[in-house]
Structures are given as structure tokens and as C-alpha cells.
């Protein structure tokens, strides 16, 4: 059986929660896969309610930037580790979980 890695993810829904919480997920660990792969694994197999941005998956679009172990970074450019803590970009308005307002544009 594959080793599992432990991923602690910041969860926050401004509409319903007063304060952020941390949720822990266990994802099969594999060298050569990225933090984004772990997020997509959670989305596909564990919890569809976790929100994060994603697009090119290879570090070119830069829409997915988050905090990984306290440092801002691109989850497609960081390999998975056995223990990780993921949070949203600092100094940005959190829309939900790891999704922040990047470029407000027109408001609706």
C-alpha cells in the first residue's frame, strides 16, 4: 500500500463561518506529483466542497497561488511532501478556502 501524506488545509466560508478552520486530509503520497495533484486528488476522491483555483497545472497561468507551509507559492511548481499545510494567499480577500480575489473586475 502507498504511503499517505497528511495535508492540513485552511477552510473558510465567509458566508457561514466566523473564523477559519483547518481540515486535515490524507492523500496517497507519490514522489514526482505536485501539491496541485494532491488538491485535485482531494477534489476528485475525498471532498468536493474544498475550493481552490486551478487551470494550466504546469506553473504558467499563476491563478492557483496559495501559501504552502507559510510561504506563498504555486502548487503546480511544488512537489508533494509527506506533511503540508496549505492556506490562501495573504493580504487578499478570501472568497472561500484557498480561493482569493485576484483581480476584482466588475462586481456583480
Amino acid at each position: 500500500m502507498k504511503k499517505l501524506c497528511s495535508i492540513a488545509v485552511y477552510r473558510f466560508d465567509p458566508a457561514t463561518m466566523e473564523a477559519p478552520e483547518i481540515q486535515e486530509y490524507r492523500v496517497p503520497f507519490e514522489t514526482g506529483f505536485t501539491v496541485m495533484d494532491a488538491l485535485l486528488y482531494i477534489h476528485r476522491y475525498i471532498d468536493g466542497s474544498l475550493a481552490f483555483r486551478t487551470s494550466c497545472q504546469c506553473g504558467l497561468c499563476l491563478v492557483c497561488w496559495i501559501q504552502i507551509d507559510g510561504k506563498t507559492g504555486c502548487p503546480c511548481k511544488c512537489f508533494m511532501k509527506e506533511q503540508m499545510v496549505l492556506g490562501p494567499m495573504p493580504k487578499k480577500k478570501v472568497i472561500k478556502d484557498l480561493v482569493v480575489e485576484l483581480d476584482p473586475g466588475e462586481s456583480i
Binding site: 477559519p20 504558467l60 491563478v63 472561500k96
Partner: protein, 590 residues
């Protein structure tokens, strides 16, 4: 938990609590809660083609322009992933080059199926649009005051303009900057559009919802441009971005527009599957096959490509190599993650260095501490570019008044296959063309707008999704099932009986998605399950178009390979068009 939270510099003031009115927010499509936005021109899609369309439409000073994107305008989509070449016959590197030669190269490369009028406009306008991008500050590489132009396979003369190995990203960033400096264009990020507003064969805008607030939105527009890209995500192995789900193609089909060349999906044979190569798009491993001594091995360690084609490295076309690898994996001899191995253990350091001297591949690989001679990459064919899409005229107009299309969502320029380097320039030409034509149409269009306030089956379905919270089937499972089925039946190799199974599979998935799939009603903003559900439902239409066309085309041509009819037949040297008639699709020769 508190300790973990302190890891993030997250002042609470930056996480404001929104005002919650009447309890939890919910997606409500009753008339009063829908936000209506009126604009002259609506652009759907915020990649390269969409940005060019918005900038082009804004040149008509008397029209209002709105651009809407399900992700982030100027970042999401496939344009940023373009690596090297943006081809235009500027004739700088070789004065013999001109649009006519570019036409011939593209026409021959596309199995002689390209629309000649569209192609003429493309080759003539590409140089102008590239120079327009230079004005916007895109730093194309220069030599002696003029743009450098590099060689690309299939092109007679060097005509690839480039910004290192990140041309697409540089182009997209330049366009994003230009768009931000264009105050006439209103930008709507994070808005998922799912259907066009149409009445008696005329299009009046589109309906969707804001992903951030889940507010239903109705864009009422005099002219609508679809620039939503292709549908590479119909396959599990793809070099495209996760946004490339063909939504616009499906919405156009649903509204009654004519699609064309739907059987032509280009597969790139040597895309990496494992490990991930940071900062490199999936096609970048394609150069590895040209390294002297490289071998392509199956799970049993056999150099299976050399067994069939001893001189495969240079002689084998992309199509043939894709077919061989696809067959190897299908027959159970693939690698752990679903590809085959490319092995450089018998190559010398010098050969590797020499063969990979162009671009940033070597640098990035070194940064990842990967030893190319020790690491066996798992590679395989992946969907890369969709030649089919919405049928357009020279100005980007579709078969429906009020509807225009541009970029990968539109068909016709490439025919049955695409030459490398023609995608990044094509989005510029068709984007500008469609944007300007839409603005001209909007400026003179008069007449009352029908009442679109009534809910349709789409809104009923979305509301039903929430009511089936405990349903066992989640949308993402449906999406994966569709992708796997398309790979098996409408992938690199197709066969008549398989395509029929694929069509039956579509019907099954549609039924499950419409009647048995549910999503959680918790955590409403940025609802990824709802996003999956909407995307998957739209993907089904594009997939059905591909299967139907591939079944009708009883020959192999361009990127379409029928294992049961592995030859071309002059009877089929024509385009196939697809329209929706009631519940089924009608496909016929043009």
C-alpha cells in the same frame, strides 16, 4: 489548530464576513434574483482570442463591450501554455516568405480541408496582428531592430515569432495589460456561462452565474462572441488547461449553430505523464525522442517502436507514433501511470546536451535534480489541439445572427490537422476579426429583445442538483467516466463499432447526470461541484459531436484515424458539419 493558523499571515480584517440576508445564500433562479447586464457586445472567454476580440470590438467607440470568463481573464485558458512559436509570414528571416507560402503550408498540413477564405484572411492578417502585439509591449525577440523568426516543422520558411520558450504567456500577459488599459471593456471574472439566450434562430446574449457569489446573471447583448477554446479536456490524457472543456462549442450547438470538422482532435505523442515536470507544459518531452540513443520501452522493457519502425526517431509522424503508443497501452503493456517509458540511459551526456540545447528544458530539468540518463519518463499521446468547432465565415460570424466565434472554438483555418505555430497567431486574427464584426453588427442592430426571464430546463436542473444532496453520483465521477470513454472510443484510433458504443455511453452519462447526480448545498460560494456538473453537461454535447462526425467519416484523414478504414478516400475530401435536430445530432457532408 490555532498553531496551524498562525502559519498564515491572515489578518482577520482581510477575511470580511459578508452580510447574510435571509440565512444561507442560495442559487435561486426565480426572476427577481437574476442580475441582468445589458451590453452591446459580449465576449465569452478570457484567453488570447477573447482578449483580442474585446480589444477589437472596443475600437468601435459607440458600442459597450463586456468580457466574461469562468476563471481569471488574461490568465486562465490555454494561451499561457503556448511555448515557442507564433507563426506569421513577415518575411524577416527569409524574404522569400509571404502569406501565399504560409497558405500553402497550412493547407497541405491540414489534409487540404481548410476553408480557403478563412485561411487567406489568417495568413494575410497574422503579420499585422503580431506587430499589433509588439505595440502592446509583448517582448518578441528581435535582431537588428526586427523580430527574429525561427524554423518550425511544416513551414517552408522560418516564420515563428517567439519570446524564449514562454511565448504564449508573454502574449497573454501583454493582452491582459492592454485590456486593463482599455476602460471601455467591462471585465467579469469567475462567471460561468452555461447557455446562450436565443429566440427564432437569433442570439441575444448568454446566461450564467457568478462563481464567487452564485448570483444568477443574464447578459443581454446585441452580439455575442464565443472565444472559449477547444475541448482537450474530453480526454484523460491532455496537454490542455483544465478550462479547455469546449463549453462554447456545446452552447452554440445547443442554440442551433452549425459545427464543423468535429472529428479532428490533434494528439501530441510524447507528452509527459510522470513525473510532473515543473514549469514545463506536457508537450515539452517531445524533444527527447530526437536524442541519439533514446528508446521507447513498454512495461516489458521492449523497444516496441523500433521493432516496427527502426528509424522511428526522425521518420515517424506524430500521428503514427501516437497510434503505436496508444495501442501498446490499450493492450496492457503500458507503464504504471498509463503511458510508456522513454529511456535515455544509452545516450551520452554530450548527445543529450546537443539535442536539448534549444529552449529552457535542460535548465528546468537540472533545477529539479533530474538525471535524464537515470530517470525513465512515462510519456504518451495527449489531446493537444481541436481543429473542429463552430463553423464561421470570414468575419467570424456563425450560422446564427448575433453569434460570432473565434480562436480554438472556431473551425476552418487548420482543416484536418494543425501545423505547429499556427495556433497562437490564429487566435489573434480570428479574435480581432470576430470582435470587430460583432461590434459592427451591434452598432446597427435594432429591434426588441424577447423576454428571457422565464426559467429553462437548465435552471430547473441546477436547482435539482442541490435537492439531490445525498445522491451517490458526484459530477466529477461523471466527468472522469466521460473522459475515459472518449479515450477508449474516440481517441487516437477509432473504429466504427467503438464509436457507436461511445454514443451509447454518452446517452448513459447524460441520463445519470440529469437524473441521478447531486451536489452538496454546503459551502455555496465557489462551488467546485456545481462547476464540474455544468462543465460535464456541456462536455457531453461536444463529445457527441466528435463521436457522430468520426462515425460518419468513413476514411482516415488528417488527425482522424479509423482502424477499420485506415486509408483516405477522395469521396471524403470534404468537411462534415453537425447541427442539433431535436434530441439528436445531424451530421452531413458540407
Amino acid at each position: 489548530m490555532e498553531i496551524l493558523l498562525t502559519l498564515f499571515s491572515m489578518p482577520s480584517a482581510l477575511c470580511p464576513l459578508p452580510t447574510v440576508v435571509n440565512g444561507l445564500p442560495e442559487l435561486n433562479f426565480s426572476t427577481h434574483s437574476v442580475v441582468e447586464i445589458v451590453t452591446d457586445v459580449l465576449i465569452i472567454g478570457g484567453g488570447g482570442a477573447g482578449c483580442m476580440a474585446a480589444i477589437g470590438a472596443d475600437r468601435s467607440k459607440n458600442v459597450s463591450v463586456a468580457i466574461v470568463e469562468k476563471g481569471v481573464i488574461g490568465a486562465s485558458g490555454c494561451t499561457v501554455m503556448g511555448t515557442y512559436s507564433c507563426c506569421a509570414a513577415l518575411g524577416y528571416a527569409d524574404p522569400r516568405d509571404n502569406p501565399e507560402v504560409h497558405f500553402e503550408d497550412t493547407f497541405v498540413g491540414g489534409a487540404e480541408l481548410a476553408d480557403q477564405a478563412l485561411l487567406t484572411r489568417f495568413v494575410e492578417d497574422a503579420p499585422l496582428r503580431v506587430l499589433e502585439l509588439v505595440e502592446y509591449g509583448v517582448p518578441f525577440e528581435k535582431e537588428g531592430g526586427r523580430l527574429k523568426q525561427g524554423d518550425m516543422p511544416g513551414h517552408t520558411y522560418p516564420r515563428a515569432c517567439f519570446v524564449g520558450n514562454r511565448t504564449g504567456q508573454a502574449m497573454q500577459w501583454g493582452l491582459r495589460k492592454k485590456l486593463r488599459q482599455t476602460p471601455g471593456v467591462k471585465r467579469y471574472h469567475d462567471v460561468q456561462i452555461y447557455r446562450l439566450l436565443h429566440h427564432s434562430g437569433t442570439v441575444y446574449g448568454a446566461a450564467g452565474f457568478c462563481r464567487k457569489t452564485l448570483t444568477p446573471i443574464r447578459f443581454v447583448a446585441k452580439a455575442t462572441v464565443i472565444a472559449t477554446g477547444g475541448c482537450g479536456q474530453l480526454y484523460p490524457y491532455t496537454s490542455t488547461s483544465l478550462d479547455n472543456t469546449g463549453n462554447g462549442i456545446s452552447m452554440a450547438l445547443d442554440a442551433g449553430a452549425m459545427l464543423m470538422d468535429m472529428e479532428f482532435m490533434q494528439f501530441n505523442p510524447v507528452c509527459y505523464i510522470y513525473p510532473r515536470l515543473i514549469g514545463l507544459n506536457r508537450t515539452q518531452t517531445r524533444f527527447l525522442r530526437f536524442v541519439p540513443g533514446s528508446r521507447m520501452l513498454n512495461r516489458l522493457g521492449r523497444d516496441f517502436v523500433a521493432d516496427t519502425y527502426p528509424d522511428w526517431k526522425h521518420s515517424l509522424t506524430r500521428d503514427k507514433l501516437s497510434q503505436l503508443i496508444y495501442q501498446e497501452v490499450l493492450e496492457g503493456r503500458g507503464s504504471e501511470h498509463g503511458g510508456v517509458y522513454i529511456d535515455l540511459s544509452q545516450s551520452s551526456e554530450g548527445d543529450i546536451e546537443k539535442a536539448l540545447s534549444v529552449g529552457n528544458f535542460r535548465k528546468k530539468i537540472k533545477k529539479m535534480n533530474i538525471d535524464l540518463r537515470e530517470t525513465r519518463f512515462e510519456v504518451g499521446p495527449a489531446s493537444h489541439y481541436f481543429m473542429g468547432g463552430i463553423r464561421i465565415g470570414v468575419d467570424g460570424g456563425t450560422s446564427l445572427p448575433g453569434l460570432y466565434a473565434a480562436g480554438e472554438a472556431a473551425a476552418g483555418i487548420h482543416g484536418g490537422n494543425r501545423l505547429a505555430g499556427n495556433a497562437l497567431s490564429e487566435i489573434l486574427v480570428t479574435g480581432t476579426g470576430a470582435g470587430q464584426a460583432a461590434a459592427n453588427y451591434a452598432a446597427v442592430r435594432t429591434g426588441a429583445v424577447p423576454d428571457f426571464s422565464k426559467k429553462t430546463e437548465w435552471e430547473d436542473w441546477i436547482e435539482r442538483l442541490f435537492s439531490r444532496e445525498k445522491a451517490e453520483i458526484r459530477p466529477v465521477e461523471m466527468k472522469q467516466r466521460l473522459q475515459e470513454m472518449m479515450w477508449k472510443y474516440a481517441g487516437v484510433k477509432r473504429i466504427g463499432t467503438g464509436l457507436k458504443k461511445g454514443l451509447a455511453g454518452i446517452a448513459d452519462i447524460r441520463l445519470s447526470l440529469l437524473d441521478r447526480t447531486g451536489i452538496s448545498s454546503e459551502s455555496m460560494p465557489y462551488h467546485m461541484e456545481l462547476h464540474d456538473a455544468v462543465e460535464t453537461r456541456l462536455m457531453l454535447d461536444a463529445a457527441e459531436g466528435i463521436l457522430t462526425s468520426a462515425l460518419l467519416r468513413k476514411e482516415s484523414r488528417g488527425a482522424h484515424f479509423r482502424e477499420d478504414i485506415p486509408y483516405s478516400d477522395k469521396e471524403w475530401k470534404t468537411n462534415l458539419v453537425v447541427t442539433r435536430e431535436g434530441g439528436s445530432l445531424k451530421c452531413e457532408k458540407i
